[in-house]
């Protein structure tokens, strides 16, 4: 039973446009949300995070939005660059042990 879902396996956008990656979760008790980026043959790299007490966090071209009532998380990348092409995983922290539950990832392709 998936507690974190990324329903779009892939997304293709033009360079300079906005990329929007989505993530849904099931448990309203989750309190910390993260996005990771992964290139082939490398490990996931932390990108940006948000606490449940906020609804938006911005870091340069990356903004994460949290809609707690909808149990929905999104990552906006603007403007998108070809180097952003990677697999993006959303993750939620579960409990007090630091355990992360990951979505299945969305492959983003940014075309020049």
């Amino acid at each position: 039973d998936q507690q974190v879902k990324q329903n779009s396996p892939s997304l293709s956008v033009q360079e300079g446009r906005i990329s929007i990656l989505n993530c849904d979760y099931t448990n309203s008790m989750f309190d910390y949300f993260l996005w990771y980026k992964k290139y082939p043959a490398e490990g996931p790299t932390f990108l940006i995070s948000i606490s449940s007490i906020k609804d938006k966090n911005e870091d340069g071209r990356f903004t994460v939005f949290l809609n707690k009532s909808a149990k929905h998380l999104s990552l906006h990348i603007v403007p998108s660059q070809p180097g952003d092409s990677a697999v993006y995983f959303c993750a939620v922290r579960s409990g007090n042990t630091g355990k992360l539950i990951f979505g299945q990832g969305t492959t983003l392709q940014v075309k020049p």
């Binding site: 490990g43 007090n96 042990t97 630091g98 992360l100 539950i101 299945q104």
Partner: protein
């Protein structure tokens, strides 16, 4: 370089063998993790150690045994390897657990293939 490093990067072996994967971090973190990424690309937590103490032990077969000799190392030993163990195994580390909003840093993974 400061990093989480895993060895080996690739491991090809026969069914029934015993193998180990090593992980080391020089980030000064006190918590380390093992994740498994299966063929469907899901990343799932297996184990976590905080200051050498086991704090997460998910439903993983007893054939998998983590060992943390010190805070900077978390090794994974697998006995009697099975075809279903083929996956990419990622090690990660972080400052603290639970309530600390510190992200986990991942190694580049060990791709295990069982023949």
């Amino acid at each position: 370089d400061t990093a989480v490093s895993q060895t080996p990067k690739y491991l090809v072996t026969q069914m029934g063998n015993d193998k180990s994967i090593k992980c080391e971090q020089n980030l000064g973190h006190d918590t380390m993790y093992w994740y498994k990424q299966d063929s469907k690309k899901f990343l799932k937590i297996m184990f976590s150690y905080n200051n050498k103490e086991l704090i997460i032990n998910e439903t993983v077969p007893n054939r998998f045994s983590p060992k943390s000799p010190d805070k900077a190392h978390l090794n994974l030993h697998i006995n009697s390897l099975e075809l279903g163990d083929s996956a990419v195994y990622f090690c990660a580390s972080s400052h603290g657990t639970g309530r600390t909003n510190q992200p986990q840093h991942f190694g580049d993974g060990t791709r295990l293939s069982i023949l």
